[in-house]
Symmetry: C2
Subunit: 314 residues, 2 copies
């Protein structure tokens, strides 16, 4: 094993690059802009140039690097072929191979960003010490990543770990971003929690609440209200996290993982989120999996860089 | 690779034994009674004696056998330790090791019977040619088995593939065998379909039906009625298979397999079962997984023997 590796997390606006020792120690991290013009043809050359520049700064060469692992925001096959990343402008090509050529032929691996982040959390974050991990990210949407025996379950169509699109509710009137109705994401994401609270308040005008429909509120406002004893806030968190707990129980009936790791902005709103989800998980879970641990993610936005490195060091 | 292997499927009443060439060819198959008296202490010696007898019949020795793979009706760890098989009388011990000792030290592997059957269907049955397979067995209950990259996903608590206990319905009044309420098995098994039909008829006395609540009916009767255009039969099959399709869509959001293989007695009631499940699967599935194939199992009660052999030949 060589001493260094790079972990790269490509987002629609910036690319996060982490320079690591292969022991897992993050030596340095920085960001470069994601240049999406001309079908995103500059993105990989920009990354390669940034890596070379960092090598020079540290007096090392490509031969000192074990490899580069990256997360991309879209579906991708195990061999590194992206199947269109709409917000990067990319079509279908082997992104791992292309970056490898630009970096003098060193090992490059690539995966879907949510899956790579899950791998990072398994390696150095909330799932450290485990090999079978289910990661759930409660952000604007609900993301997921499944790690089995230390490796990403990408799925034959790249849809492994798309937990946010598990069908949960039959009588939903609004569409999810994916085109379906009733996906977990419509209730258990930050936006989903706000939506659930708005609906609750509109349907229960008699319930006193500090959450003001006209002024609008955020998911954090809903959590803060719930923590302060606000009836509408509590009801919304209960409804939202009941569905998350139920979905997690269903996931456990499939994979039966060692641990669930929950991350994303909403998970930081305080223990009320994870505690309420855990309460309903226990209620819905098959008895053999009832005691499965639910932990908070610890790497935040760095999880993707860590996961990239773990991909190349194996 | 040696020329022969044995696949063993231990049930509560009989043990099925298959004598195979390691190419996958079933040479001979027979059954012996499962003697559950004295904490089931005779079960493994009986199997070993039966294998020796068959070896002698074919003029071969234990040294000509690649190994023995077996399915047991209960939770079991990857190393072959059973965690109590109530209907065999077994406590906690390493069943693979014990049978190996009785068979002169040859390789023995053991897995949960539903998982081993799924592996058999992947190898030589409905999932042939695939490596990522989800098997669902619609029998008295709903069993499941997840195969990922050609290997069983047993789960850390032995609950991998317990698809029958995915939480599906919130307002169920009756208990599932597992102690929870609202499990898939309560609706989509043979017993579940009968229950759904009984409830439908009781709640819709105005709907004419040939299904007679007083005389009683079977799952096959419900399917036959549905095929003949009986309104209550159709409604029951729709309700029951809608939940199965929804559960399969949720499974696809986790594993995104290449193929679903559906087996068990109810799957043989005709294409109405699998076709209705497939219709609802497409409705509930995440777009990337919508075209995932749903096939019928082909090995019937022999799937466990095939899977046992696949376990030992790897």
């Amino acid at each position: 094993m060589k001493k260094y590796a790079y972990g790269v997390d490509i987002g629609g606006t910036t690319v996060k690059i982490g320079f690591f020792e292969t022991t897992g120690k993050l030596v340095d991290t920085w960001e470069i802009p994601t240049r999406t013009e001309n079908s995103g043809e500059l993105i990989l050359p920009d990354i390669a140039a940034s890596i070379k520049e960092n090598n020079e700064k540290h007096g090392i060469e490509m031969g000192d690097i074990e490899g580069v692992g990256m997360g991309v925001p879209g579906p991708i096959k195990d061999d590194g072929t992206v199947l269109k990343c709409v917000n990067l402008g990319w079509g279908v090509f082997n992104v791992a191979q292309s970056l490898s050529v630009l970096c003098g032929g060193i090992k490059v691996k690539a995966g879907n960003d949510a899956n790579v982040a899950a791998l990072g959390e398994m390696w150095q974050g909330g799932g450290k010490g485990h090999q079978d991990v289910v990661m759930i990210t409660l952000g604007t949407g609900v993301g997921g990543g499944i790690i089995r025996e230390g490796r990403i379950v990408a799925g034959v169509n790249g849809a492994g770990g798309e937990i946010g699109h598990m069908p949960m509710v039959d009588d939903e009137s609004e569409c999810c971003g994916c085109g379906k109705k009733g996906c977990l994401e419509q209730y258990a994401s930050a936006n989903g929690l706000v939506r659930v609270a708005e609906r609750y308040i509109a349907a229960h005008r008699d319930v006193a609440t500090k959450l003001d429909l006209n002024a609008g509120f955020t998911a954090k406002d809903v959590c803060d209200a719930a923590k302060a004893g606000d009836a509408a806030g509590i009801a919304a968190v209960e409804q939202s996290m009941k569905l998350l707990g139920k979905a997690m129980a269903a996931v456990a009936c499939v994979m039966d993982p060692e641990v669930f790791v929950v991350g994303g902005g909403l998970s930081k709103a305080g223990s009320i989120i994870i505690d309420t989800a855990a309460k309903y998980y226990k209620e819905y879970a098959f008895h053999a999996s009832r005691e499965t641990e639910i932990k908070l993610a610890t790497l935040g936005n760095s999880a993707g860089m860590y996961g990239g490195v773990k991909m190349v060091i194996g």
